[in-house]
Symmetry: C2
Subunit: 221 residues, 2 copies
DNA sequence: GCTGTATTCAACGTTTTGGTTGAATGAAAG
DNA sequence: CTTTCATTCAACCAAAACGTTGAATACAGC
């Protein structure tokens, strides 16, 4: 005879499905990429440095939890975030982690080696200063992610190219770099590199997904 | 030699700790009780129908994820929610689950057998109507949870007592019942029972934790 | 001190999850 | 129709999570 679970138990069981889906670093990383836009399986596998089969299995788990959608596109299967509310969940997770997990506090502190000047720029500040032409907005994500949506007027120089293309940046204005999210390494590294090269550089507080979620304008080119 | 993980990986690993903590129905149920107020271990074990040792281990896992705090109080250890933002996370989880998981949709639909009249009352509606004396607010949670905080003016009749104490309720006004959260079974059952007894009964959309989180007034007696 | 009660710990077997490998499927291109 | 490539599936082992048991710890009351 099968176990009979109360409706209450069944609901908790379903919620736990979502929790478990968020309970593995590889899946969180995949979600981070998916928050930037649509990606194929092998695309994600490469980005997360996972085997394709493993990536596929993780994606299926995310799909079973209702967090991502998949659609066939010729030979490829393109995955996307199923629900923007997931960004709220992840933001709450980060908030709790930062407040209550010492390891997280330490890790974030060690990123912020430059201290003072590296305090992040809030989104609404950037909006105002960008409109007044006071800053250069720099998107340091890979070109494909930039193409799928970015802050209006932002210049795209993927982090790996920053060193070689640094001459394209104006020296007279502050540079505000952003990437995938508030904890994305790319913009931390970019700001460090830019400051080392003599620029006045700051990080945007959040990444593009949060910017979009806040209802701020995003363009596709 | 130990595995060296990048800071990015380490951060995801930490977040996954929180995800995993939310990845088990028993822990979600414990959090649901804890959202009502402080509870001892055996208290929680009884409520969730778990062994004490098992409950203790789950609580420690929640603590390691920074979701709950523990304090000694004589012989007892009292656990509480560590962060109100957890309520935001759980709300987002419920939202996603309801939209994307068929099982959840079905379970919620089967609760709402009475359909039409059982649409839940939004919190701000209740505030207005309670102020104007148009409704009776009924808290159907156990007395200990009511004692730790409830909606001002609410009458407490735990669900198990409802049948025997139903005469205490005024027949001329609508009754709005609430309990632990938007998916808490207690108020669903209460409303069904009240309607069967001829009352005009509705459910509050959310439970007390969400009411408190929304900044609405809560009293302790 | 001793006793009773609440909680945690350690050890154990069981179940579930994670990751790999190699084969199977589905669609496009020749 | 065969080849090719992206993805999924199935089988397998290794690792982690669950739950129980019985012992250990912590505190209150005597």
């Amino acid at each position: 005879m099968a176990k009979t679970a109360s409706p209450k138990q069944q609901l908790f069981e379903q919620l736990a499905l979502i929790g478990r889906a968020l309970g593995h670093s590889a899946r969180l990383e995949l979600l981070d990429y998916l928050a930037q836009g649509e990606h194929s399986v092998e695309d994600l596998a490469r980005a997360a440095r996972l085997s394709v089969a493993n990536t596929s299995k993780h994606l299926q788990q995310l799909r079973a939890a209702g967090l991502v959608d998949a659609r066939r596109d010729g030979k490829y299967v393109r995955y996307t975030l199923a629900d923007e509310r997931l960004l709220d969940m992840l933001a709450a997770m980060r908030g709790i982690a930062r407040t209550h997990l010492d390891t997280v506090r330490d890790l974030l502190a060690s990123y912020l080696q430059g201290r003072d000047g590296l305090e992040p720029v809030p989104a609404h500040d950037l909006m105002r200063r960008a409109r007044d032409g006071l800053v250069t907005v720099l998107d340091v994500r890979p070109a494909e992610e930039y193409a799928q949506g970015h802050i209006p007027g932002a210049l795209n120089i993927p982090l790996e190219r920053l060193r070689e293309r640094i001459a394209e940046l104006p020296v007279d204005r502050q540079i505000v770099a952003y990437c995938r999210g508030p904890w994305c390494v790319l913009s931390f590294d970019a700001v460090a590199g830019l400051r080392a090269a003599g620029f006045d550089a700051r990080r945007l507080e959040d990444g593009l997904p949060e910017w979009r979620r806040a209802g701020l304008p995003v363009v596709r080119e």
